[in-house]
Amino acid sequence: MLRLADGALILAQRLGEWCGHGPALEEDIAFANIGLDLLGQARLLYTHAGALEGRGRTEDSFAYWRDEAEFFNPTIVELPNGDFAQSVLRAYLFVLYQQSLWARLIASTDAELAAIAGKSAKETRYHVRHLGNWVVRLGDGTAESHTRLQRALDYLMPYTAELFAPDAVDDALLAARIGPALGDAATAWREPLAATLAKATLVLPAASPFLSMGKRGQHSEAMGYLLTEMQSLARAHPGATW
């Protein structure tokens, strides 16, 4: 649960960084809107996680009062934004991953999780379409945009291995029919990705043995800075409300 929620929250934070810096007003708004949807998904998931745990933790305790090793988002979402090409592609890779998960979590034996998946799937479909259009536009655009997108793809692809590499937690969730079969999800992710990359005239880099460990709480050096910024207000003013 926290893996799903943390992934959405941390990418929302990165997309929020673009606010006021987008290459055009429309894309500034698009990133902010997608980030807001992800934040909404994270809130629902944290609230549900808190209820399951039964120790009174709220969405805010999860977001603001855990330290780096207690976050279980995949490493790919915490990486710095880089240029617009890298931000677009990273968000696309992640929302496509979310889409492959929601489609399976709708059948989860956890009814609340299934409901959250059903709700989120509708929003994610719009994100996938919008970001996918951008991947094609930039990849099949000018020589400069193509070069930048290909560079982003080469950089980001190794971080996607973690998304579909099951560990003991994934296996236990699958056995309880709460979580999805990551192998099936990987197939559902690769097919539309391959189609989009073909249209975008981009080439997948060769598979690498690298496996990031964000979902086990071992993060990149970027994570500490991100959390420091995200959590500073709540920690400087404990209990503050809007």
Binding site: L25, E26, I29, A30, A32, N33, I34, L36, D37, L38, L39, G40, Q41, R43, L44, E112, A114, A115, I116, G118, K119, S120, K122, E123, R125, Y126, R129, H130
Partner: protein
């Protein structure tokens, strides 16, 4: 919108529905929260009023304001014990907007979602290729300027005939 037949409603239930009918959407004040289709159920059993609400977009900040507005509207009726439940299933869809909401949106300058989702997959409702009608001059010669607008539920369009930009309530 799910609503109980008036004959089956208790007096207090009818009053609550009427009060909710008067609560405007915080972002689009020309439509009420019942027009928006997010009020799913009202239960007035045992001295306590329970209102079941289905959120539009999970991250929409208006949801918080709506909850507070429901509480204050019911307090004005003298109801003190109020519970607001969020229900996610079935997920909210723009199909739940009432005909009155469509008319009010158009009048306000927002193109209502013109596609029902029955039998139409969402991929068919591509915001760029599937064009809404201009709410001002009714032309279908419109273009998408931005797939995301000032609120999560809207996209930005421009009419190529009257040249006016307008917002489009995205089918969802």
């Amino acid at each position: 919108m799910v609503s109980v037949a008036p004959t089956a409603m208790t007096t207090i239930e009818a009053k609550v529905w009427a009060a909710l009918q008067a609560v405007p959407d915080p972002e689009i004040p020309v439509i009420s929260i019942t027009d928006l289709g997010i009020v799913r159920e009202v239960d007035c059993a045992a001295e306590r009023v329970t209102v079941v609400v289905t959120p539009t977009y999970a991250g929409c900040p208006a949801t918080e304001v709506i909850k507070a507005d429901i509480v204050s509207a019911l307090r004005e009726l003298g109801i003190t014990s109020i519970e607001i439940k969020l229900r996610l299933t079935p997920p909210w869809t723009t199909d739940w907007l009432t005909p009155a909401a469509h008319a009010a949106l158009r009048e306000y300058g927002i193109a209502p979602p013109h596609i029902t989702l029955d039998g139409v997959t969402r991929e068919d409702t591509h915001a760029i290729t599937f064009k809404p009608r201009c709410p001002r001059c009714t032309s279908l010669q419109t273009e998408c300027l931005s797939e995301f607008g000032a609120t999560p539920c809207k996209a930005l369009y421009r009419c190529q005939r009257c040249r006016e930009p307008f917002e489009y309530f995205k089918p969802h």
